[in-house]
């Protein structure tokens, strides 16, 4: 069972979300600057070589980022078009997909600008990255520290899959000709 809140205090929520993002950002930077371990210097060296921000490299090594689950969800209905799982930990992906749609719809209606779409949800130790297309979107459940480099990598996988199967992805999941696209999704993740 999935329950989703629909609070009416939109502006308060927006303010709280922004504040939370600022606090987390400050916390990461402070910790990265204070810890002097071998791992810290190793990551510093890697950062210099790769050009990726040091705090991102350091935290990625401490908390390795990993894709846990991938959902392709029809916009509006929240029905699941395709799924890919690394570990079978989630019992019912159809209800998860519906809940994600409800949360996404709520957040976008609070912000109130049609062109802005929700791109990320923080959920405890997990992050859910959302990659939007016209009639469907990808929701990628990730564990560990999710930095920009990792997000870029995930987006690349999504674009590669989408460019190959964009025509095949059933945008009308309600059609009697609906064909689950999960098999193709597995090749890319």
């Amino acid at each position: 069972m999935i329950e989703t809140l629909y609070p009416l205090l939109g502006s308060m929520m927006k303010k709280a979300m922004l504040n939370q993002v600022r606090v987390i950002n400050e916390k990461i930077e402070r910790t990265a600057n204070q810890v002097f371990t071998l791992g810290f210097w190793k990551s510093k060296f890697k950062s210099l070589i790769t050009g990726i921000d040091h705090s991102e490299v350091y935290f990625q090594e401490l908390y390795q980022s990993k894709i846990e689950d991938v959902f392709v969800i029809q916009k509006g209905s929240g029905l699941l078009i395709a799924k890919y799982k690394l570990e079978d930990t989630i019992a019912d992906r159809d209800t998860i997909a519906g809940a994600l749609e409800a949360i996404k719809g709520f957040a976008e209606s609070v912000i109130g600008k049609n062109s802005i779409e929700l791109e990320k949800i923080d959920y405890g130790e997990y992050n859910i990255l959302l990659h939007n297309y016209h009639k469907f979107y990808f929701a990628v459940l990730c564990s560990g520290v999710v930095g920009n480099h990792f997000i870029q990598d995930v987006n690349e996988k999504i674009v590669n899959y989408a460019s190959e199967y964009l025509q095949e992805i059933p945008t009308q999941v309600n059609s009697l000709n609906f064909k689950d696209n999960s098999e193709n999704l597995q090749k890319y993740f």
Binding site: E3, Y6, G78, G105, S175, L176, F178
Partner: protein, 165 residues
């Protein structure tokens, strides 16, 4: 023997407070009933598959919290739905009135969506027809979430309607 096609359908369950929306969904999906009234906050999503002759229908059921009028239900809840269950309480006639007021609003917003009107708590009436055709021309099915009477049949009927519509 060929495997049956699996299709998905989004259903909405709507109605005024304490008519038994969540009880109906719980009876259908979990085969459970509780006398304790716990109002739903926001939306509760559950799923159950129904096997028909030709296809298997995965019903993703959005049980939506009580609203004062159907006009204020957020658009994104309604979007992409295939079937609507409008629930009223057979022991409170005013809840039927409220439901009928909502029908026209849904016909405008969701023209191709199958709608079914459900009078719940039939166990509290001495005599209740289990099905009638109301003056709006819509099918009115009577159920009891408590005893389970007609609950599975109602969901199955709506699943069928969503395929036909």
């Amino acid at each position: 023997m060929s495997e049956k096609l699996v299709i998905k359908r989004k259903l909405l369950v709507l109605g005024t407070f304490s008519v038994g929306k969540t009880s109906l969904v719980n009876r259908f999906t979990l085969n459970k009933f509780s006398d304790i009234y716990v109002p739903t906050i926001g939306v509760s999503i559950k799923k159950k598959s129904v096997e028909l002759e030709e296809v298997i229908v995965d019903l993703v059921i959005w049980d939506i919290a009580d609203v004062a009028t159907f006009d204020i239900i957020p658009e994104h809840y309604l979007s992409g739905s295939h079937g609507v269950i409008l629930v009223f309480d057979l022991t409170r006639p005013e809840t039927l009135q409220k439901t009928l007021e909502g029908v026209n609003s849904f016909r405008d917003k969701l023209p191709s969506t199958a709608i079914i009107i459900v009078g719940n708590k039939s166990d509290l009436l001495e005599n209740s027809n289990m099905e009638t055709q109301n003056k709006e021309g819509l099918m009115e099915v009577h159920t009891s979430a408590k005893s389970g009477e007609n609950v599975d049949e109602m969901f199955e009927r709506l699943a069928r309607l969503t395929i036909e519509s």
